[in-house]
């Protein structure tokens, strides 16, 4: 039974893409206000889990359940899940030429019933962009079009800050960032959690311990071959850094090899 007190409750989740099974029984529970890190080898299915939870139409769920505060996410399309408060910061954000950030952000907020007057919106936007040290010119840039790797990550965090989700799934928000940018992004996440009065949960997918030092996750999950194979405290991340996945888990097979 899904636990309605739990922010996110994933049980026995299986998902396939092009009839190839990638997720093979994912179990994960994130209480309100907690930050959970998800680590695991390349190709183990972390991004797939993120997509499956946010409703990417390319992925078919073949078994299991996923609920947000007791509401079944699986029958809902991506936009409805977002309206419920699920947010995904993409590992590789998509460029959409011709659509300006400012138009997009307003459309997104409107769709989630969070529309502000033009003036309030601009004030908010200016504030959040300043916090993330983003130049104002990004407002009129096209979505992710020609953004550098680090700029894309900041733009994702900007969206999270404006949309104030219940659950933020952050897929490698730290990859490709310089040290200063890493701190800015981590601060952005922490601000969002604190601003939510301890209600927002975070699923933070990462390969590096560094961002975890800033964000101090409550739990670290290790993902391997489409499943969570170990969960523990922050020390788990340090062990991975020291020993590698192979050292920690023994022979680690990526999903592609075990399919």
């Amino acid at each position: 039974m899904p636990d309605p007190a739990m922010l996110l409750d994933v049980a026995g989740l299986h998902a396939t893409i092009d009839s190839k099974e990638i997720l093979k029984g994912v179990d994960m529970r994130i209480p309100h206000g907690e930050i959970h890190a998800l680590m695991g080898p390349n190709g183990s299915g972390k991004s797939t889990l993120a997509y499956a939870l946010t409703g990417h139409p390319k992925y078919q769920i073949t078994a299991g359940s996923a609920t947000l505060k007791g509401t079944d996410l699986l029958p809902l399309t991506a936009d409805l899940r977002a309206q419920l408060g699920v947010f995904l910061s993409f590992q590789h954000p998509t460029a959409i030429p011709g659509v300006t950030m400012v138009n997009f952000l307003r459309a997104a907020m409107r769709s989630q019933g969070k529309e502000l007057s033009a003036r309030e919106f601009l004030t908010r936007l200016t504030y959040e962009m300043a916090e993330l040290k983003m130049d104002e010119s990004f407002r009129s840039r096209y979505i992710n079009d020609g953004f550098s790797g680090g700029e894309k990550k900041r733009a994702e965090i900007l969206q999270m800050a404006l949309l104030q989700p219940q659950l933020a799934i952050l897929d490698e928000p730290d990859s490709g960032l310089d040290v200063d940018a890493l701190r800015i992004v981590a601060d952005g996440v922490r601000r969002a959690v604190e601003g939510s009065a301890g209600k927002m949960g975070v699923l933070l997918i990462t390969h590096y311990n560094r961002i975890l030092e800033y964000l101090r996750p409550d739990t670290v999950h290790i993902f391997s071959a489409g499943r969570v194979v170990a969960s523990g405290g922050p020390s788990l991340a340090k062990e991975i850094e020291a020993m590698g996945y192979e050292g920690l888990l023994g022979e680690v097979a990526p999903v592609s090899a075990s399919a």
Binding site: D79, F87, T94, P97, F104, S111, L163
Partner: protein
């Protein structure tokens, strides 16, 4: 993708129909009698009647174009070629009949007038009923009037240029227009005069089964600048309406003419327009051409680059909804050395809609050091949508640099997902992507036209995806 076709016509925004206030109309069909009646009714000089009758003679001899869209449904005998809505040309808004005012109100004309004091000239059916021009422009010698007035009041200039760029035997629809033309705009900009504010005209077809055959003539003297804008919309009717316009532009040495049009005909209109410009030494001509709506559009704005260093731009956007065929493109003829042309075309097909790009680049033997750039991109919204490209190149000089790029793509699944993951519905996400695709075009438009384009696109997108 799943398609639920919901043609624009169902909620066509301007598909209302005012009480017909015509005061004079010719009988249906085309004949010497009809053409003579038009000319006499307008009190035209003899040479114009002769011009019309000669054109009428060409009309049956010119073949229907067999290479483009399907025109077989046009019944030339079932069309009113001339309808005059009010008795006389009005100079003040207060004099405009209420039913016409209502129409204009819905089209936003009075506002446009307030905003753009430079000049508003709106065509209602065949005759311009309302027209104003800023006194300052008049003082500087700028003429902005309907074409009939141009003929009446400025006959010397008018006669010197009229029909010289597009002769009456050019093609079947140019012949037809030349025989029965009425209304349209006449613009004359004297040497060295820069008209800073765009000159705007608003066209609209209102009577069932009447054609609209306006004629626009723009002359920019040496070193002058003018931007002319025209928007079109027509109410929805059960039978097919025909729009066959002719636009001629003459850009003299060093002149710069920009012609912007957004056409949004209702989906039963045949929109067959001949547009051609000549650009002399160091002159620039730009066609900014947006085509939404209509049943069939065939339109290929042309630029003849006659003098050295002349430059031509054709920037076009087309949206074909279910049942519509937008056959559009451009023609750039490089006659002189050091001439350059740039063609950018963006088209979107939705449902069973079809867009075709037909481009012709010609470089004559004397034209060396020529640069040509052509880029056309098509976006398909549904599985059954269609787009095709017909680029023709006739290059008779080896000293030519040509860039040509073309692409056809579908709305990207990843782009859609990205937007939807922010809460935006599939329909709104598609509309955003569509607007973004037209952005290179929209950003060339004055603000309120860009806004209008976005709204029209959003309307056309309703029910796009299920």
């Amino acid at each position: 993708m799943v398609t639920k076709t919901d043609p624009l016509s169902r909620d066509y925004k301007y598909g209302f129909h005012d009480q017909d206030v015509s005061v004079f109309r010719t009988e249906k069909g085309l004949s010497r009698k009809v053409v003579t009646a038009i000319s006499q009714h307008k009190g035209e000089p003899e040479w114009m009647l002769e011009f019309r009758l000669k054109a009428l003679g060409h009309f049956p001899k010119r073949p229907m174009p067999a290479w483009g869209a399907d025109l077989s449904d046009i019944n030339f005998d079932d069309i009113y070629y001339y309808v005059k809505p009010v008795d006389e040309q009005l100079n003040s808004w207060d004099d405009v009949p209420l039913s016409i005012k209502n129409t204009f109100d819905r089209l936003g004309i009075p506002e446009a007038e307030r905003k753009f004091l430079a000049g508003v000239s709106a065509q209602y059916d065949s005759e311009v009923v309302y027209h104003s021009i800023h006194a300052d422009l008049e003082k500087r010698g700028v003429i902005f009037s309907d074409c009939d007035t141009g003929l009446r009041l400025h006959s010397d200039i008018f006669r010197k240029y009229f029909g010289t760029i597009i002769p009456p035997n050019d093609n079947k629809f140019a012949s037809l227009n030349s025989a029965v033309w009425s209304g349209g705009s006449f613009v004359y900009v004297p040497k060295g005069v820069h008209v800073e504010i765009p000159l705007q005209a608003y066209f609209r077809i209102n009577s069932d089964n009447m054609g609209q055959f306006e004629r626009t003539l723009i002359i920019a003297e040496e070193g002058s600048y003018v931007h002319y804008i025209e928007g079109c919309t027509a109410p929805t009717y059960s039978s097919n309406a025909l729009h066959a316009a002719v636009v001629e532009i003459i850009a003299h040495k060093g002149a710069h003419v920009r012609y912007t049009t957004i056409q949004n005909w209702s989906d039963n209109v045949y929109n067959l327009v001949t547009k051609r410009a000549v650009a002399y030494e160091d002159a620039t001509v730009e066609w900014i051409d947006g085509n939404l709506g209509s049943k069939v559009t065939m339109k290929y704005p042309a630029i003849y680059l006659m003098g050295e260093r002349a430059h031509g731009e054709v920037l076009s956007a087309a949206f074909a909804n279910s049942g519509q065929h937008q056959d559009a493109g451009s023609k750039c003829i490089h006659v002189a050395p050091h001439t350059t042309s740039n063609v950018v075309s963006r088209s979107i097909s939705k449902g069973s809609g079809r867009t075709s790009y037909r481009g012709h680049i010609k470089v004559l033997p004397a034209a060396y050091d020529v640069k040509v750039n052509v880029r056309c991109d098509a976006l398909l919204l549904d599985e059954e949508s269609q787009s095709d490209t017909y680029p023709y190149m006739d290059i008779d000089n080896p000293d030519v640099t040509i860039g040509h790029e073309a692409s056809v793509s579908k709305v990207g699944e990843d782009q859609l997902f990205y937007l939807r993951s922010r809460g935006i519905s599939e329909q709104d996400a598609t509309a955003l992507i569509v607007n973004g695709f037209f952005e290179p075009f929209a950003k060339e438009l004055p603000m309120e036209y860009a806004v209008e384009l976005n709204r029209l696109l959003a309307l056309s997108m309703e029910g796009a995806v299920g």
